[in-house]
């Protein structure tokens, strides 16, 4: 009843090509953003900020990155953890070497560095496809983690092999990393940063380069025959995807955990992000957010639900249950809805558009 597009006529192509061609969508997204920006800070507890909202935003960033590569360009990657580690360690080295440069710039530079690494490990994609490529990306995963654990230079010779976020301010004394940063500061910064990056990602996938990615994903031979350079399409996907993932790794290390070792980015991290995009929706920016929310919330729900029901469970048991439920959900989603939560949301909207008179 309230969600109708009737009466909204588009008279220019520009309007028809907008991200949210329907007015209610546009207002809805804006409202959610403003709510998160202006209202949430007054209600959210430190626990909520630190353990739910911050990791959610960081993971959403990583999921957008992987979704560009896997969901849009069709190149399955199991190297996400390795690229996240790149972002984290590059940021650490850069910001300890140049403490005067603004941390946001440093993070972006680390992102560019990771993009270069991504291109290097993306080169095999020019010759190999599918599972072969997935295995080749495992090489990136294991090699990069090895490099960061093996070489004490990366941690500035920390005896425990750990990097710890130094205090850095966005401006003035608005600290976003280190001991002086409040959870609220981190949250507000992440919210704005991730929103901008998501907008950029959305713009890319609806532009020429995005269409080139999707063409390669859907049928690479036909894509080449209509003039798409496969090298450019695949390597740009690897570069931009790694850029996002690297930044996500930096945010993870500096804002979520504050101190981290290379093993935090093991291969299980890669699977975790892959699950986010499968559950959230392959080839959907919105899906990246939904999938990240799902994966962040499920373990919290699992560890709290038994207590609420009065059942006592060991943490081990919860970890195993988590494994089982993730596995089962992946299979379920692939069988029932390969396009994930994002597609379910879209179907719901289509229903809503006609509600309450479906005919």
């Amino acid at each position: 009843m309230f969600y109708r597009e009737a009466g909204q006529f588009k008279s220019t192509y520009a309007k028809d090509q907008a991200i949210f061609p329907i007015k209610q969508d546009k207002l809805g997204v804006l409202a959610i953003f403003l709510f998160a920006l202006l209202v949430v800070p007054f209600f959210a507890s430190t626990y909520w900020l630190n353990s739910i909202l911050v990791p959610f935003l960081v993971f959403a960033m990583a999921a957008i990155g992987l979704n560009i590569l896997t969901g849009y360009c069709g190149q399955v990657s199991l190297g996400t953890g390795g690229f996240m580690a790149c972002g984290a360690f590059f940021t650490f080295k850069l910001t300890t070497a140049f403490p005067e440069i603004n941390i946001v710039l440093i993070i972006l530079m680390a992102g560019f560095g990771t993009a270069l690494v991504g291109i290097a490990f993306g080169l095999p994609s020019l010759r190999i496809k599918g599972f072969y490529l997935a295995i080749a990306t495992l090489a990136a995963q294991f090699f990069l983690i090895w490099m960061f654990t093996q070489n004490p230079w990366w941690t500035n010779y920390n005896p425990a092999g750990v990097i710890t976020a130094p205090p850095r301010a966005l401006f003035g004394d608005f600290y976003i990393t280190g001991a002086l940063a409040t959870p609220l500061n981190k949250y507000l910064f992440l919210l704005c940063f991730v929103a901008v990056m998501a907008l950029v990602a959305k713009n890319l996938v609806r532009s020429a380069v995005g269409r080139a990615w999707m063409a390669v994903r859907d049928m690479d031979i036909a894509a080449e025959i209509i003039g798409i350079r496969p090298m450019f399409a695949k390597l740009s996907a690897f570069a931009i995807s790694s850029f996002y993932i690297g930044i996500a790794g930096a945010l993870w290390a500096f804002m979520y955990t504050a101190s981290v070792e290379a093993l935090a980015f093991e291969v299980t991290r890669s699977f975790q992000v892959l699950f986010m995009i499968i559950i959230g929706g392959l080839g959907s920016i919105l899906g990246s957010f939904l999938g990240a929310a799902f994966i962040v919330l499920l373990p919290i729900l699992l560890s709290n639900a038994p207590a609420l029901l009065g059942i006592r469970m060991s943490t081990d048991m919860i970890a195993h249950l988590e494994f089982m439920i993730f596995g089962a959900l992946i299979i379920l989603f692939l069988i029932l809805e390969p396009h994930g939560l994002a597609r379910l949301w879209q179907l719901a909207k289509e229903k809503l558009r006609r509600w309450p008179f479906p005919y």
């Binding site: 080169l123 599918g130 295995i135 699977f271 081990d316």
Partner: protein, 336 residues
Amino acid sequence: MNTRMLTGWGFGVPGTIILIGLIFQLVTQVDSTFYFAWGYYFEILIAGLLQGVMYSLVALGFVLIFKASGVFNFAQGSMVLFAALTMVGLMEWGLHWALAFAATGAVMVLLAISIERVVLRPLVNQPHIILFMATIGIFYLLDGIGQTMWGSELKSLDIGIPRNSVEILENVFEGGILINRYDLVVAAIGAVMVAVLAVFFHKTRIGRALRAVADDHQAALSVGIPLKSIWVVVWTVAGLVALVAGIAWGGKLGVQFTLALIALKALPVLILGGLTSIPGAIVGGLIIGAGEQVSEIFLGHFIGSAIQSWFAYVLAMVFLLIRPEGLFGEKIIERV
């Protein structure tokens, strides 16, 4: 395999081994901290080859399933873990190992049936990459179930294979070459299993049907081969292979979660050997096992230790760039 290939391999393999040894020998002239002796080199090489057989055991399961259903079964590693966990669990109940083996075999059959029912059947005709991701789901599901049922602490699995080392060729090399008896026995078991599989594939009716299915699903269906039961058979065979691999690995390292991750090492083996070739899985395993051990000991001297964690993958990646279809894989002709 024609004679040209045989002579190629016959000279190429020993040639490469000796060449690499000679290079190391040369290095000792330049760098005095670098230790090299032929006896030591061969000892590591043999240990690596035996380790490689164990990779092959896991890789074999992948190949079987990929050949018959085109599914890249990422969960093979967790099937190994699951089988080993079940076997240990049953033995802890006091079952004799032979009984536990039989019971675990039965469990693997049930597992194959349920995977076919619950996962494969609804996903028939989906793109390969979707099926691949579904097997990642199975990977997690199986790990979760296995550990929930049998616990996640390290367990030892002992079915009475001797573990001491024997010394051979004392009079050729100084100090002789030490070989672990356990690894030898496992290699022998592996060889027997490959022989049995070869007979199964080439001499039995069901084997012929399997090969037909591997060639073309539609065509196989149209001549009346029941696709679904074939898949159950393949997954069962792969499950049994996983059981053997699980006993071998579990006996060596103990049974716990890391087994499932060690099985990831079988992936570069597959790439090297080609996804559809059983001999490829064996040769690939040997190359990866030997290459990994030798490079860990000798190259590790220069670039740092623990390169085992990535060496196999990087080797496979470089190899893919040169020959995307693997050593024994079929050449891919693209059509439009």
